[in-house]
């Protein structure tokens, strides 16, 4: 296998061997899976823009940086109180904290979850009940198709694990907080999470990626979410890492009959960000909502890639993505829908709306529908525009100053996405977060101070 590794991937080879030596505790099936994934990664290497799925995103900067496995930051003795406080979603049922990809129990708040529910570290679960994961871990992501998924799978070590027994209903969200702490040299983590929701469960899960400090860092995350029959699960991803961070994430969901899964992605931070959402509607009557908001500035690159697979009849999917791009930022919306041969009565809809705030901002939006069934309804639409001058004048003519009016219009545009979030604590947390991040504040650092009184007020609906 090693012979196939080019000089360029040497750092990965060394890291893989180092991890292999440490991870003797992993069960044989997992070691085999990781070996296979690494072999696959070495075979393909990183994708290029010649690859249709990567046409608009050049990952050369990732490929040529010799990332090393991130240090175990849990031993640094640093204090994370402020960061943790700022990233805590009020009303969450528990918060699992990961430092450089590793579970940090002393920083986590495990709350009190109902009997039978598990929420904790994947590494611990592998060590203690490894056999219980075999049915799901690595069964859904396609390591042959996606080099980043292969790379992540090769480096499975830690991440979050959630198990919801049949009929569990959790009103308060479960939160994973992944804190990356850049060092002097470029480092990488491959957080791997697994969420298994049995039949008739209901829960919200939040994955939040933040940086502590500034520097080059590569987070390559994969989450597999298995939703049983009639399960209603919502997943939230928040990317707000440092501008020098690379973040590639994949959410792969597998839905059984009548399961209802929603994925909400909010991309704010990071330098080069790619978010893959790949639901497979594998049972009749399934529903999925893929909702996203991306706000780019400076030279940020944000690529939203969706692959919705309708594999069963009578399923519906909805994709709604709104992008706000300023500066030289570059956004991508690539919405691929595959309707398999037997997936009759599929109802799929896709909408991407974008606001470009500067002449240098750029958006590539690409619908891609592949329909092999003959009785389906699939629609797609995309718009690209600027802040509406008429609306701006209308608001100003009512006394609202131009800066505030502009911010309000952006906030309204962002709220189209946030309003689709059913989990109230998460929605409200994100409304505050996004408001602080919108252009109008030149630093976009999440502070309210720079903005006018009315705009800085909490967004709310009256009546």
């Amino acid at each position: 296998m090693a012979t196939a590794v080019t000089e360029r991937l040497r750092n990965y080879l060394e890291a893989f061997h180092a991890l292999g030596a440490e991870e003797r505790r992993q069960p044989a099936w997992l070691r085999a899976l990781r070996e296979r994934a690494f072999a696959r990664f070495c075979e393909t290497g990183f994708p290029t823009t010649k690859d249709e799925d990567w046409r608009f995103t050049n990952v050369n900067a990732i490929a040529r940086t010799p990332f090393q496995p991130a240090r175990d930051a849990r031993r640094s003795g640093a204090i994370y109180g402020d960061t943790l406080e700022a990233c805590r979603i009020p009303g969450a049922s528990c918060q699992l904290v990961f430092l450089n990809g590793r579970f940090a129990p002393e920083l986590s708040d495990l709350g009190s979850l109902p009997q039978g529910v598990r929420a904790g570290s994947l590494a611990e679960t592998i060590a203690q009940h490894g056999e219980s994961l075999e049915a799901h871990l690595g069964r859904y992501v396609n390591i042959d198709r996606d080099a980043f998924c292969a790379l992540n799978t090769a480096f499975i070590e830690d991440g979050a694990y959630v198990y919801l027994p049949r009929r569990t209903v959790l009103e308060a969200p479960i939160c994973f907080l992944f804190i990356s702490i850049p060092g002097d040299d470029p480092e990488m983590t491959h957080p791997r999470s697994l969420i298994v929701a049995e039949d008739a469960t209901e829960a919200s899960i939040v994955e939040d990626y933040v940086s502590l400090g500034s520097g080059v860092f590569f987070s390559n995350a994969v989450t597999e979410l298995v939703a049983g029959e009639d399960a209603v699960i919502s997943h939230y991803l928040i990317e707000r890492e440092d501008r020098q961070a690379f973040n590639v994430s994949t959410l792969r969901t597998q839905q059984a009959r009548s399961a209802n899964v929603s994925s909400h992605s909010v991309l704010l931070g990071g330098g080069l960000v790619r978010n893959n959402v790949h639901p497979v509607l594998g049972g009749e009557g399934g529903e999925c909502l893929i909702n996203g908001l991306f706000i780019g500035n400076g030279s940020q690159h944000m690529d939203n890639y969706m692959l919705v697979e309708h594999a069963s009849p009578h399923c519906s999917s909805r994709q709604f993505y709104n992008g706000i791009l300023d500066g030289h930022s570059h956004g991508v919306f690539h919405g691929r829908i595959i309707v398999h041969k037997d997936a009759q009565k599929t109802d799929a809809k896709q909408t991407n709306r974008n606001l470009l705030l500067s002449d240098d901002a750029q958006i590539d939006t690409k619908p891609q529908l592949e329909i092999y069934a003959d009785d389906v309804k699939c629609t797609h639409g995309a718009t690209i525009g600027q802040v509406e001058e008429n609306a701006l004048f209308y608001m100003r003519s009512r006394g609202i100053d131009e800066t505030s009016a502009r911010s309000l219009l952006l906030l309204a545009f962002a709220n189209e996405c946030l309003d689709r979030m059913k989990c109230r604590p998460v929605r409200e947390y994100l409304q505050d977060l996004v408001q602080g991040w919108l252009p109008g504040t030149s630093t976009a650092a999440g502070t309210d101070a720079a903005r006018g009184g009315e705009v800085a007020r909490r967004w709310e609906e009256v009546g």
Partner: protein, 255 residues
Amino acid sequence: MSILEVKDLHANIHNHEILKGVDLTVNPGEVHSIMGPNGSGKSTLAQVLARRESYEVTRGQVLLNGKDLLAMKPEEAACEGLFMAFQYPVEIPGISNAYFLRAAVNAIRKYRGEEELDAMDFLPLLKEKMRLLEMDEHFLSRPVNEGFSGGEKKRNEIVQMAVLEPRMAILDETDSGLDIDALKIVAKGVNAMRSADRAILVVTHYQRLLNYIVPDYVHVLVDGRIVKSGGPELALELEEKGYVGWAEPGSAAAD
């Protein structure tokens, strides 16, 4: 002092002269109507007064409460007490009617050094004005004008006017597209606002609205100039005879 004083106002859009020397004085307590055929410059006059930036003022002066209106931004004019009900109210998805209006009220209050209103103080005020305009409470949480019918949009404009309590209100063809019932509701809302220290300028093509909002003065605007002024009877005369004889043949349509 007059609330509004327009002197020799000339304005262009895309280098095309629309207003060619308008003179108009509006005093507190008065209701004026500007009537004129299509393309006469009625809407341009309203837009210039509301400070829409796409119009270029080339000559003349406008004073609002003695202050130079033409030096003001749209939001400053609003804070100084000017209000225009739009001919085509704009839809703003994602912002609720109630939130929008409270933001407006508070922007104006802040400008005047008054304390801002919180939602609890503001809501009863807004509900009262909505009842006057016979608008259901569900419009509070609806996005501004989105999905409203034509009549609902126009009524919503008058709700805004009632809440913002301007000193100088301009209605830009508020009657266009309204059925008689909606017209009566709008007129009722406007008439409730008539007061000794407020002035209203009704810009309209038809006399119909003036049956319900009876003006003190009527001005006929033709080809960018006021060609005749008189009392409410002038509106009836125009209704009977039309603008024939006023409009110069071949004058370009501009509104």
